[in-house]
C-alpha cells in the first residue's frame, strides 16, 4: 500500500509543480542578489542572506529560511489536505476500502507519503540552494585563504565543509519533521471533510493562529507548545558549538503534534461512515 501511495504521489503533476515552485523562489532571490549586488544588512531580510554573498555554501540555509514561513507550509497543506478528502472526492476511497485496505493501514500509508513529500521538498530546496549558491557566489574567501573552503559559523568559528554538510543534513531532517506536523494535522482535517481545499485551508489556519499567538505575552503559557514555536530552532545548528536545547525541545514538540494529530485522524476515520 505504501508503494501504491508513493506511486500516486510521484505521478501527480501538482506535486512536481509544488516542488518546482519551492525551488524557484530561492533561486530567484539568489539571482537578484547576484545581479544587483545589494546585500541585506545583517539581521534584515531572511536569515543567512547577508552572509551568503561572501560564501555560496551558506545559501542552502538561506534558501530554507526563505521558503519556511509561507511557501513550504502551503505546499504541505495542499498535499496533506488532499490525502483522504481527495480520494473521497474522486470516489477511489471506497474502492480502496473494499479492496480491502485496512483503514489504519491507509492512514499510515498516507502519512508516510506526506512524509516523503516534505522530505523531498526540503531536500530539493537544499540541493537547489547549494547549486545556485555555489554557482553565483562561489566558495567564499576562506577557500582561497585556508584552502579547505571553510565557512564562518554564526558564532564566528570556522566550519569545515564536512561539518557544514552534517549540519545541513540535520537541518533537513529537523525541518522535514516540522513540516510533517502540518502533514499529520492535514491528514486529520482530511478525514473530517470531503473537500481537500477545506482541509488545506484548515492547516493554514493553524499556522496563522500559531504565528499570531507566538509574540503575544498573554499566550506565554502555551507558547512552548505552538506548532510554529520551534521552527527557527534549526538556526542554532549553524553555531559552533551547536546549541542543541532548542532543537531537541522543538523535535519533541513536533513529534508530539504528529502523534496527537495522527491519533485524532485514526480515531475519527476508524469508525467513520464512508458515504462519498
Amino acid at each position: 500500500m505504501i508503494g501504491v501511495e508513493l506511486q500516486l504521489l510521484l505521478r501527480r503533476r501538482r506535486v512536481w509543480l509544488c516542488w518546482a515552485l519551492l525551488c524557484a523562489l530561492p533561486a530567484a532571490v539568489g539571482v537578484l542578489l547576484a545581479v544587483t549586488d545589494i546585500v541585506p544588512a545583517p539581521g534584515r531580510g531572511g536569515n543567512f542572506l547577508s552572509a551568503v554573498v561572501s560564501n555560496g555554501q551558506l545559501f542552502p540555509a538561506a534558501a530554507l529560511a526563505l521558503v519556511l514561513p509561507v511557501f513550504l507550509p502551503i505546499t504541505v497543506a495542499i498535499v496533506a489536505g488532499d490525502t483522504i478528502a481527495g480520494e473521497a472526492g474522486t470516489g477511489t476511497l471506497r474502492y480502496l476500502l473494499v479492496r480491502p485496505v485496512g483503514r489504519l493501514r491507509l492512514l499510515v500509508a498516507k502519512l508516510l507519503s506526506v512524509a516523503a513529500f516534505v522530505l523531498l521538498a526540503v531536500l530539493f530546496v537544499t540541493v537547489t540552494g547549494y547549486l545556485v549558491g555555489v554557482a553565483l557566489f562561489g566558495f567564499g574567501p576562506d577557500a582561497t585563504l585556508g584552502g579547505t573552503g571553510g565557512v564562518t559559523s554564526l558564532s564566528g568559528a570556522v566550519l569545515t565543509p564536512t561539518e557544514l554538510a552534517a549540519r545541513t543534513a540535520t537541518t533537513v531532517g529537523y525541518l522535514a519533521l516540522c513540516m510533517l506536523t502540518l502533514g499529520a494535522v492535514g491528514l486529520f482535517f482530511s478525514t473530517l471533510t470531503d473537500s481537500p481545499l477545506a482541509a488545506a485551508l484548515g492547516v493554514l489556519a493553524l499556522v496563522v493562529t500559531s504565528a499570531v499567538l507566538l509574540p503575544l505575552d498573554a499566550a506565554a503559557a502555551i507558547r512552548f507548545y505552538l506548532p510554529t514555536a520551534h521552527w527557527l530552532a534549526w538556526v542554532d545548528l549553524y553555531r559552533a558549538p551547536i546549541l542543541w536545547t532548542d532543537v531537541r525541545e522543538g523535535a519533541q514538540v513536533q513529534l508530539g503534534w504528529v502523534l496527537v494529530a495522527f491519533g485524532a485522524a485514526w480515531a475519527n476515520f476508524a469508525t467513520k461512515d464512508v458515504t462519498s
Binding site: V4, L8, R12, G91, Y95, P100, V101, V274
Partner: protein, 321 residues
Amino acid sequence: MTDVIVTSDLTKRFGRVTAVDGLDLRVPAGCRFGLLGPNGSGKTTLVRMLLGLVHPTRGTVELLGAPMPAQAAAVLPRVGALVESPAAWPQLSGPANLRLLDAAGGRRTGTAGGRRTAGGRRARSRRVAEALQRVGLGDIDRRPVRAYSLGMRQRLGIAATLLREPELLLLDEPTNGLDPRGINEVRELLVALNEAGTTVVLSSHLLSEVEQLCTRVGVMDGGRLVLTDELAALRAPTGRVLVRTPDPAAVVALLDGQVARRDGDVLQVRSLDPAGLNARLVEAGIRVTELAPQHRSLEQVVLELTGTGADRVDAAPQDRP
C-alpha cells in the same frame, strides 16, 4: 443452500433520516439477485453496509458466512464491488489504475481452492490484462482515465471488480452509461460469471435490466424490504388470457361472464386453460389474432409495492374554496 448475504434487523440512521429500517435480507449462493427500489429507498446504503463502508446503527451483516465489518479483511478479497458509480484516479491510465488497485489490496494469502494469490508484477499484469479483456477494454491505450467516456469508465469499474475472481459480485447500477450493445455484453458477462459459480447481486432501478438478468428479486421501499421472491413466481400467470380479435363482440357473446375486461379489440378472459379457450373460439368460428396467458410484469409488481421515490417532493394539496 447456503446464503452469501444475511442481514438481520439491519438499520441505519443518518441523523433523523432512517435510510435502512430493520432489514432482514437473505441472498442464497449461486443466484442472480436483483435489488429494486425507487431512488432513496436505501439500496446504496444497504450495499455500503454490506461492504463495511457504513456502520449499521443496529443489526448485523453476514457476508459469505462471516460477520461484517469485523471480518472485512478476510471476506472482502472474495467480493467484487461496484458502489454507486465507478471511480478511478483520473490522471492515470485504466491499466495503471487497475494495477495500483490490485497492489493496494496487499497480499492475498491462505485462501483455499487454488485461488490466485497476488503474485509478482507479471502475475498482476496478466490479471489486469485478463480483466480488461473480459469487459471489452483489451486493446486500451495509455490515455488517462480523465479522457474516458462514461461507458469506458463503467467497463473499467466492472473490470476492477473481476481482478480477484470474486465469489460474490455486488454491483450498483452496472450498466449505467452503456449503450444497448454494451448493456447486452455486460449481461452476457454476468450470466457467464454466474454460471461459473459467482453469486451476482445487482442493485438497479431499471426494471427491464433486472427482469432480463436476475433469477431472484428483492424490492426495497422507504428503507424496508417489501418483497423477496423468485422472479418466476412474481411473473406467474394471473389466471387470465389476453385475446386479440377482430370480432370482440362475438367473443363477449360466446364467453358471457368470463370476459373480465375489454380494451378495444383486446379482451381479458378469465381462464386457466388457454389451449382449451383457443379451441373453443376456433370451434365457434371466431377469428383470433393473438392469444396468450397474461403475466404480471415486474413493473406492475414494483409499482404496486413502492411509493414515489425520495427524489420527488410534492407540495401538499391545498384546499381552495
